[in-house]
Symmetry: none
Subunit: 188 residues, 4 copies
DNA sequence: AATGAATGAGATTTCATTCAT
DNA sequence: TATGAATGAAATCTCATTCAT
C-alpha cells in the first residue's frame, strides 16, 4: 500500500506537478483515505523526499557499476548515456519529477539530494577529463561544460521522448551517442 | 505597475514555482494589495499566459530575423544557439518559467503556446534537414532527434548556468557550438 | 467585526477551553466564514495573544493608577484587591482565560505575557513589603508568599463567583479584604 | 503498564493540557502503541476520569481521617490546609490537572466529580461554621466565602509553588496557616 | 496483552477571486 | 486605479478510535 501510494503519486506529480497534486488526489487514485496516507508518510514533502532519494540512489548505484566494469572512457561515457536514456522506458516519470520538483523539498532535504546529484555529475566529468588526458577525446574540450551539454541532452529527453513512438529507447540512445561523439559536421 | 507585477511574479515563479506562489506573495513583493492585481489581470493564469506569450513571440521574432539574414545552414544554426544561450543573461528567469510552468495554463492557452513552441522547433529542424541535404551536415543525422539534442543542451543550460560565474554567456555559446559541430572524439 | 470575533471567542474559550474551541465554532457564533477570521488574525494563537495582551495591559494600567493615587499601603492593597474582584463583573470571562490558557501561547508570546504578569505581582509584593517596613502590616510576614496568598484568593474567585448570585461583587470584595486584614481568629 | 500510562499522561496533561495531548503523545512517552492504550482504557476521557476519581477519593479519605482525629475547629482546619499544601510535593501535577481539566469530562462523569468536590468543600465550610459558633473564629465571618478564600489560596499554590525552591512545603504551610488565622494587619 | 494498519471526522490554514467604496 | 473586507472551496494535517492478527 505504501508502494501503491508512491506509484500513484509519481504519476500524478508528473501529470500535474507536486504543488498542484493534493493528498486527496493521491488517495482517491487508489481508493483509500487521507488518514492512511499520513500513517505511511509524515508529510507530503516526506513522500517527495522518499521518491527523490530512492531515485538518485538507484542512479548512483548503476553508475558505479558501469565505472567499475567498463575499460575505456569512451565506453564508460556511452554506457552511462545509454542507461540514462533507456531508463526513460522504465522510470521516465520518476526522472521528470526528479528534475522538476527539487525546489519543493525543505532546505535540508534539498541539500542532501543536490549533493548526490552533484556526485553523479562529477563522476561523468571525471570520465570526460580522463578521456581528454589519455587522448580518447579532443584536447580542447572543457570537461565541466561538456558534461553539462551531455546531461542536458539526455535529461531533456525525459520531457518529450515517447518510448511507444516511432523510435525505441535503444535507437534514441544510439543516435544520441553518435551525436555526442561525432557532432554534426560533415567530414572534410 | 503592470510591468512591476510581471517582473516580480517572474522572480517568484522562478524561485518557488507557479503553484506555490500566491497572489499575496506577488503583491507583497511590490507593496500593493490584491485588488490591484485583479485590476491588471483577469486571473493568475492570465498573468502566466501573458508571460508565456510575450516570451515565445519574442523568441520567434528573433529566430525569424536570423533565418532571413544568415546564408548557410551552419551559421543559421549557430546564430540560433548563440542567441538562446546569450539570452540567459537578459531573460534567464523567463526561460526557466517557460519550460516548467506550461502545465498550469488552461487547455486552450496551453495549446496556443505549444503550437508556437513547435513552430520554433520545426524551424530548427528545417535548418538541420536543409544542411544535411546540401552537404553541410553529416548524411546519417536524423533531423528531428538532432534538433531535440541541440535544444536539450541549450534549454538545460537555463537551469544551471550562472552568467556571473567564471564563464560569460558568449564563452559558453562558443563551447556549445563547437560541441555541436564536432562532437568529442579526437580526430583520427 | 474584529471586535465581535474577540468577544465571541472569549465566551467560547471560557466555556470549552482554547484547544477545544475550533475556528469553526467561533465564526459560526457570529455567522461569518473562516476566511474572514484569517483576514483579521494571522492564526488562532494570534487571537489568543491579542486577548492576553489587552487584558494584562489593562490590569497594569489600572494598578498603576491606584499606586499613584492612594496614600497608605493598606488602602493601596485594598483598592487593588477590590478592583480585581469587582472586575469579575465586567471581565470575569477574560480573567478565566488569562489564568488558564497561557500555555497555548508560543514560547515567545508566553514569555511576554509572563513578564507582564510578574510585574503585576511584583508591584503587589512591593506594597506588602513597604507596609511591613512602615508598621502597617505585621513584622513577621513574608512579602512574596503573602502576595501569592492574596492573589490566589482573588484569582480563584474568578472560577466560582457568580456576580448574579446572592452576593454582589462589592460585598465579596468587602469580605475578602476583611479576611486579608484580620484573618479568622477571634480576638483575645 | 496501566500505571505507567497514567503517570506519563499526568505529566503530559500538566505540560500541554488534556486537549492538546494526543494518545500518540502518551504512548510515545512510554514506547508502546496506541492499540495498547485502548486495551487498558476505553477512551481518552475514561483515563481522565480515572485520574480525577482516584485523586478526589484520596483527598476525601484523608480529610475524613483528620475530621475524626482532631478535636478543635482550629486544628481541624489547619491540618486540612497543611495536608493540601504538603501534597504539592507528592501529587502537585495531579492537583493541577484536577482543577483545570474537569471540563473535558462528559456531563455524567463531570457531575460525579463535582459532587465529590462539593462534599470536600462543604466539609471545610462546616469546620468554619462550627468554629464561629463555638467562638474559636470571629463572629462576623461568612463561612462559605471564607472557605472559598482558604481554598483559593491553597489551590492556587499548586500553580506556582516549586517544592524544590527556597521554601519547603511545610514552611509554606506554616506561613499560610498563620496568614489565615491572623491576617496581615499589625496588632493595635 | 499488544501491534500495525486503516478510517473518518474535523482541525487549522491558504488562497484565488469578488466587490463595494 | 487602488483598497480592504469578505467568501468559499480546498489544502495539509491531526487524532480518537477500531479491528484483525
Amino acid at each position: 500500500m505504501k508502494k501503491e501510494l508512491i506509484t500513484q503519486s509519481i504519476n500524478l506529480f508528473v501529470e500535474k506537478g507536486f504543488s498542484a497534486t493534493s493528498i486527496q488526489d493521491i488517495v482517491d487514485a487508489i481508493g483509500v483515505t487521507k488518514g492512511s496516507f499520513y500513517y505511511h508518510f509524515k508529510s507530503k514533502e516526506a513522500l517527495l523526499m522518499h521518491i527523490h532519494l530512492s531515485y538518485i540512489d538507484d542512479l548512483l548505484r548503476r553508475q558505479k557499476r558501469i565505472l567499475e566494469t567498463e575499460k575505456t572512457c569512451r565506453t564508460k561515457l556511452m554506457k552511462v548515456v545509454e542507461f540514462l536514456i533507456e531508463d526513460i522506458e522504465a522510470q521516465g516519470a520518476l526522472g521528470r519529477i526528479y528534475y522538476r520538483e527539487i525546489r519543493h523539498l525543505s532546505a535540508e532535504n534539498g541539500a542532501v539530494i543536490r549533493e548526490k546529484k552533484n556526485q553523479f555529475r562529477d563522476n561523468i566529468e571525471s570520465i570526460v577529463a580522463d578521456g581528454i588526458k589519455n587522448g580518447e577525446f579532443r584536447k580542447n574540450l572543457q570537461p565541466k561544460m561538456t558534461t553539462y551539454a551531455i546531461l542536458g541532452m539526455t535529461n531533456w529527453s525525459y520531457q518529450w521522448f515517447n518510448p511507444e513512438g516511432e523510435l525505441s529507447v535503444s535507437e534514441l540512445a544510439a543516435i544520441y551517442t553518435d551525436f555526442i561523439l561525432n557532432g554534426i559536421l560533415a567530414e572534410k
